[in-house]
């Protein structure tokens, strides 16, 4: 027997490794392979071509890329604005009530995302819960945002809130109060304390939350379909129709590969430029 076969750790890891190989790496490699196959083919055994890559430009797929990237960026900015105060409260102010907030934020995650988004449709619909109630109470309806970009952004912010909130809570609870007191003692105003002490020290949480929600929003599909109607097409939507409706696997593959490459490059460069350990002074 070879020596590595006698190591219990390696042997125990084999099933999982095999599963990952077949279930994760395999499909990924196939997607990469298909992106080089001629359009509308269903076999990997053909001469590789770059036709799919050029068609991304000629068929204007960059428009849906643009929408996905911009909406993801807007979502991250809004999430930072919304989550920061809540996270601050949970980390520093609420005390034992912070657990209650955690539960309230987590419970909706137990319900399928699509169902929650349909809930928003009912809420925002013309003569729906919001519009209807306002009409009945004040005789004035709500602005109609359903099936438009603002509704998509609303959905994205709503769905991905926990993924921004919890990293921020951890980031903020890593900021020692005594450092903020020291800053105040040396004349810093609240704004200066925020800028000079709190934000830099909470940066690991801010970055991780932003990264997480940006990538999730970048690949999102349900929000634009359910709340956006036909308003815009996001890249994940294009990928889905390429694989299903259009039956053009190479086209779907090339879009997936580009999306993965973009997200991967973003994460790679961000975490190479910012050293999290350095930010919080561990090194």
């Amino acid at each position: 027997m070879r020596s590595w076969l006698r190591q219990p750790g390696l042997i125990s890891a084999l099933p999982v490794a095999a599963f990952l190989l077949v279930g994760f790496a395999g499909p990924l490699l196939m997607v990469i392979g298909f992106s080089f196959m001629p359009p509308r083919t269903f076999s990997l055994a053909q001469a590789p071509t770059l036709a799919n890559f050029t068609s991304v430009v000629t068929d204007s797929y960059y428009v849906s890329f643009f929408w996905s990237v911009s909406l993801a960026a807007i979502t991250v900015l809004l999430l930072l604005l919304v989550s920061y105060p809540i996270a601050y409260g949970m980390a520093k102010l609420f005390g034992k009530w912070a657990n209650l907030v955690t539960v309230l934020v987590v419970i909706p995650l137990l319900v399928s995302e699509n169902i929650r988004l349909f809930g928003w449709v009912l809420f925002l619909l013309k003569n729906g819960i919001l519009d209807g109630s306002l009409k009945a109470l004040f005789g004035l309806g709500a602005p109609q945002i359903l099936y438009s970009v603002p509704a998509i952004v609303l959905g994205l912010v709503y769905v991905y809130l926990p993924f921004m909130l919890f990293p921020l809570v951890i980031g903020l609870s890593l900021v020692p109060d005594v450092l903020k007191e020291a800053a105040a003692d040396m004349g810093a105003s609240r704004l200066q304390i925020f800028r000079e002490v709190e934000l830099p020290l909470a940066m690991p949480g801010v970055l991780i939350g932003s990264m997480l929600t940006f990538i999730l929003a970048l690949g999102s599909l349900a929000e634009s379909k359910i709340l956006g109607g036909q308003a815009i097409v996001m890249i994940a939507d294009d990928i889905e129709s390429a694989f299903t409706f259009a039956q053009n696997w190479p086209k779907g593959s090339v879009l997936s590969v580009l999306l993965i490459a973009f997200s991967g490059a973003l994460v790679f460069f961000l975490f190479r430029r910012v050293d999290l350990d350095r930010i919080i002074g561990r090194r």
Partner: protein, 357 residues
């Protein structure tokens, strides 16, 4: 120490946390340029009082006056005071230079000016100037202590507060930094308010010392006065190991020890003294032949001797009541008796201190 008008006045300061009273009515005047040290055991309210003075907490009652004006409602960032924290509170995400310059940056000083001042302060505190770009957590404990001090000096406060900044350092480094702190005090001429639980540390540095116990200031005075005239048993014992006998008054010049019934002569009884404690420091007690002619004598057996480096300590068990007397001598005054042998110890009436209960 100057005797100009007090820069800082505390008028009946009280701080409660819920039911608990951490600071219980403190009155104190601190003069401009003074090195004032607050000494007290753990939990006596030292940190609490300093937090009130720099404005991080608000007193529950009482008034704080700075140069005669009440500053109770002035928030910490608008008070001309600065504190070096027990934990130093250096900013881990900034370099040494970034930390020292922090107060100047807050005040909006231009980068060039900030850097000059930081380098100046680093030289004053004997920090290598090439540490400017070093990360602050890569510095040693003693260096970090100096950085914290430099940062506080950069703020240029009217009063500088220190909350046991040296307590985490080893003995020798602490001694060095105590002396340096004293030098910095002299060079800058600023008012320093220092907290420690070590009276020895307080003695080295202070113009005056305030002794705290359970949220009250039990005695305030010069190191000399506190050492020689402790107000009560607590203060006396705080100064280190002492011989303490519970006594009651016989007449103006004599007291009787409770446990042994022995009668001792004192220099003079306190006004209205009925009973209390007789404090005799180990170093004033004579042992052997030099004790035999003294007014106050106790006989016992020698049951232990230790070397304390430059000094020797003997323990003598009194034959009357079994009290363990401490006697300290310099090496060249060593007592040559054998253990378990009879020995006489004694002291002059003027070397003992009588304190009320």
């Amino acid at each position: 120490m100057t005797d100009s008008q007090p820069i800082l006045q505390l008028k009946n300061i009280v701080k409660r946390f819920g039911e608990f009273t951490a600071v219980d009515g403190i009155d104190l005047d601190i003069s401009e340029g003074e090195f004032f040290t607050i000494v007290g055991p753990s939990g006596s309210g030292k940190t609490t009082i300093i937090r009130l003075l720099v404005g991080l907490d608000r007193p529950s009652a009482g008034e704080i006056l700075l140069n005669g004006a009440c500053i109770n409602d002035l928030p910490a960032n608008r008070r001309p005071t600065c504190m070096v924290f027990q934990s130093l509170a250096l900013f881990p995400h900034k370099t040494v230079g970034g930390n020292i310059e922090f107060p100047l940056k807050i005040a909006g000083a231009p980068a060039q000016r900030r850097r000059e001042r930081a380098v100046e302060l680093m030289e004053l505190l004997r920090l290598p100037v090439d540490y400017y770009d070093k990360h602050v957590l890569q510095c040693s404990g003693g260096e970090q202590q100096r950085i914290a001090l430099a940062r506080a000096l950069a703020f240029d406060p009217a009063i500088l507060f220190f909350d046991e900044p040296l307590s985490a350092l080893d003995y020798r480094l602490r001694k060095t930094l105590e002396k340096e702190l004293k030098d910095i005090h002299r060079e800058t001429g600023k008012t320093f308010v220092y907290i420690t639980h070590s009276l020895e540390e307080a003695m080295v540095m202070s113009d005056r010392i305030g002794i705290m116990r359970d949220g009250r200031m039990v005695q305030v005075g010069t190191p000399h006065a506190i050492y020689n005239r402790p107000r009560d048993k607590f203060v006396a014992q705080f100064m280190g190991e002492v011989n303490t006998l519970q006594v009651s008054k016989i007449d103006e010049r004599h007291v009787r020890a409770r446990s042994s019934g022995d009668q001792f002569e004192v220099a003079a009884a306190l006004d209205g003294f009925e009973q209390g404690f007789l404090i005799i420091r180990p170093e004033v007690v004579k042992i052997g032949s030099s004790a035999e002619t003294l007014a106050n004598r106790v006989s016992g057996t020698l049951f232990n001797d230790y070397s304390l480096g430059s000094r020797l300590q003997y323990q003598v068990r009194s034959s009357n009541d079994g009290y363990h007397w401490l006697v300290e001598k310099l090496q060249d005054e060593a007592y040559e008796g054998a253990l378990d042998e009879e020995v006489v110890i004694g002291w002059r009436p003027e070397d003992s201190i009588l304190v009320a209960e």
